[in-house]
């Protein structure tokens, strides 16, 4: 009656899970390969740097989104949080002459505050995450509009050190990308190897069982939203550093790209499974597509359509894999 050889089932499922990351890498390599074959400059140092610059912010936000989606949630407010943080940080740097080093903690704090708001509405107000963060998407953007109005922070207003951080690199890797990858790795370790991180998976996998097992759901949910907010806040700082120009529309509509990256990266939209590595690869893939289109002389208008098609393909693939896996397990595990 017990599964005699569950080893095979395990490795098989493992393969499927790893397959996702593998599939993404294959897609990335293929895309880069084809593009480079058509235009060798796509792999030039400058071009790769550009790509890493472009990926840095999406990567960071995808990381936070992963944490939230794992708990069966979603955070649609990331674009607005990014805008708010970018504007607050930018104006603090330009208006108050705050030292550059304080930019990161300030952005994190602004983001974390927004995340706390989201978490509180969701946990204490029992508002579904979709609705709550849709609401804060509006509200926070409105706050940015209030604060910024028609003004714009220009590169010339920002301290040179800050802009250097935005455009500089170590060994060809931009600082911004390095920061994102470090955060990605840290969050990855947190999710994979810490009790609190595993609790998030448990919450998304089976909320009722998590309650029975004594997982502190409220605290963990707050953690997830605060983390997502904080990373979006950090994203705002990176955004300001990279573009040098911040106006009230910074990060507008970004949530779509981030959700797309996460879904394409194999994080199950209904919680419980997925990794930051996958989400990061998803973000990278979308950025590469974005950058390859003009190089391939494909009409830029295709970009959004491709993102949409990728989301659909990714969730359909997930579904297919899980149906197959379930059927295989049932056949194997059945005692009939």
């Amino acid at each position: 009656m017990t599964t005699v050889d569950s080893r095979t089932g395990s490795t098989w499922l493992d393969l499927v899970l790893r397959f996702r990351a593998l599939g993404l890498i294959v897609a990335l390599v293929a895309l880069v390969g084809v593009t480079t074959a058509l235009n060798p400059r796509f792999l030039s140092g400058q071009s790769v740097r550009d790509l890493l610059f472009a990926a840095a912010v999406t990567l960071l936000l995808a990381c936070g989104m992963t944490v939230v989606v794992l708990t069966r949630g979603i955070d649609l407010s990331v674009g607005s949080v990014l805008g708010l943080s970018a504007y607050v940080t930018g104006s603090a740097l330009s208006a108050t002459g705050m030292p550059t080093v304080f930019a990161l903690p300030l952005g994190l704090a602004v983001g974390a505050a927004c995340g706390t708001l989201n978490g509180a509405i969701i946990h204490f107000g029992r508002v579904p995450p979709l609705v709550a963060t849709l609401g804060t998407l509006y509200v926070l953007r409105g706050v940015v509009y209030f604060a910024a109005g028609g003004s714009r922070i220009n590169a010339s207003d920002l301290p040179p050190g800050f802009l250097d951080f935005g455009s500089g690199d170590v060994l060809g890797v931009p600082y911004l990308f390095a920061v994102s990858v470090l955060v990605l790795a840290a969050v990855g370790v947190f999710l994979g190897r810490y009790r609190a991180g595993r609790d998030l998976y448990a919450l998304g996998s089976n909320p009722e069982a998590a309650r029975l097992a004594g997982v502190p759901a409220g605290r963990r949910l707050m953690t997830a939203y605060v983390l997502s907010g904080a990373l979006a806040g950090l994203g705002g700082v990176l955004y300001a550093a990279r573009f040098g120009t911040v106006d009230a529309s910074a990060g507008y509509g970004m949530e779509l790209d981030v959700v797309a990256a996460v879904v394409v990266g194999g994080v199950a939209i209904f919680g419980g499974s997925g990794t930051t590595l996958g989400a990061g690869l998803g973000a990278l893939l979308l950025t590469v597509i974005d950058n390859a289109l003009p190089v391939l002389r494909i009409d830029q208008f295709w970009q959004q359509a491709i993102v949409g098609a990728l989301i659909l393909a990714a969730i359909a693939l997930d579904r297919l894999v899980s149906v197959r896996a379930a059927r295989a397990l049932r056949r194997k595990g059945s005692h009939v």
């Binding site: 235009n39 003004s151 220009n154 289109l293 003009p294």
Partner: protein, 360 residues
């Protein structure tokens, strides 16, 4: 889901047949493109060039969107003019640059019976019916920066003459690359009226002017007046065209983004960049050598002129007919051109020598 067959062919056919039949039937005598019955209202009033500016008029400025420094500057100019004229001024508009949002604002303003509406349009046609209603209610409609169908407004205050801008842009680019090599254009949106007029002028000039014979326009890309998109479009341009010598960006958002990209890349100093930009945004890049020279009109003066034009029309000094003359405060005397267009003047060129003299 088991048990549900979504595509019930029979029902789908049932559903579609009558609709299609109606469509086919209608197609026989249908309305197709080109047989429009259009025709806007035509002005019939006569002007009194000696009349005074009326005081106590209400002015509303409706920009493409309110979160744009360029329009903030225009609004400052307009407000100053309105104060000088003894009127009331309001700056209002949507936060997103869409035509449908502007329609709601125009409706609101026409209800409030605003005397003069200063508008930069997000779409040349979508606003027309609302503008007609506003004009029917006695509002004078003056467009600035971006025009609508001439039939739908009284006057258009153009920043510059299209030909002049196009020629100036091409001239600056040619000077910087010795009139040889590939050039590309980074524009705003593909249906922006002013952008396309300038691009047309440049294309025509490249064809006809022999001094530009060695220059080739290889690409036109659109950054949608979004910073990030313009940034990555610049990036794409340089990758797609390794031999590119110059980029012309006739939009303030585009040129700033392109300059920022160039200044941080290996192309800095290799690829020339010129176009239309504000001195405050470009100062840094002129100083670090990314950009040699660029041009722009003064948006504050544009707003000011728009306000005076509106005041003149509302006071009956002008009607929008070609050849009418009015005085726009300190800006001096202006003449109404064909199609009711008033032109601000030639663009100002900014370079390392004069850039510090401007603050906008």
């Amino acid at each position: 889901m088991k048990g549900s067959k979504p595509m019930n062919r029979r029902r789908l056919t049932l559903l579609t047949t009558p609709v299609l039949a109606a469509a086919m039937l209608a197609a026989c005598g249908g309305t197709t493109q080109g047989e429009d019955d259009g025709g806007g209202p035509a002005g019939g009033a006569s002007a009194d060039p000696n009349a005074d500016f009326e005081t106590g008029l209400t002015y509303a400025m409706l920009p493409k969107s309110v979160n744009n420094p360029y329009f903030e500057a225009s609004s400052a100019g307009a407000e100053a003019a309105v104060n000088a004229l003894g009127g009331e001024f309001e700056y209002t508009g949507p936060s997103d640059a869409s035509a449908s949002s502007q329609v709601s604002y125009i409706d609101t303003l026409s209800q409030q019976a605003t005397d003069v509406l200063l508008l930069s349009a997000n779409d040349p046609n979508a606003l027309c019916s609302s503008l007609e209603q506003a004009r029917a209610g006695g509002t004078v409609v003056v467009t600035f920066d971006s025009d609508v169908d001439p039939a739908c407004r009284d006057l258009f205050v153009s920043q510059v003459d299209s030909a002049e801008v196009g020629l100036a842009l091409l001239e600056m680019a040619a000077e910087q690359i010795d009139a040889t090599g590939e050039i590309a254009i980074l524009s705003a949106t593909a249906n922006a009226t002013n952008q396309n007029a300038w691009i047309d002028v440049m294309e025509a000039e490249l064809e006809s002017n022999t001094s530009y014979a060695d220059m080739e326009l290889v690409d036109v890309v659109y950054g949608d007046d979004e910073d990030e998109k313009s940034f990555s479009e610049t990036q794409g341009l340089l990758q797609a065209h390794p031999d590119l010598k110059a980029i012309i960006s006739p939009t303030t958002v585009g040129i700033a983004a392109a300059a920022r990209y160039l200044s941080g890349s290996e192309y800095k100093g290799q690829v020339a960049l010129t176009g239309l930009g504000t001195p405050n945004q470009m100062r840094e890049f002129v100083q670090d050598g990314t950009v040699t020279e660029f041009a722009l009109w003064d948006p504050t003066a544009l707003g000011e002129l728009a306000a005076y034009t509106g005041a003149a029309a509302a006071s009956g000094i002008i009607t929008g007919a070609e050849g009418e003359v009015f005085t726009a405060g300190d800006l001096g005397e202006y003449t109404v051109g064909a199609d009711g267009v008033v032109t601000l003047g030639p663009p100002t060129r900014f370079n390392a020598d004069n850039i510090d003299d401007f603050d906008f």
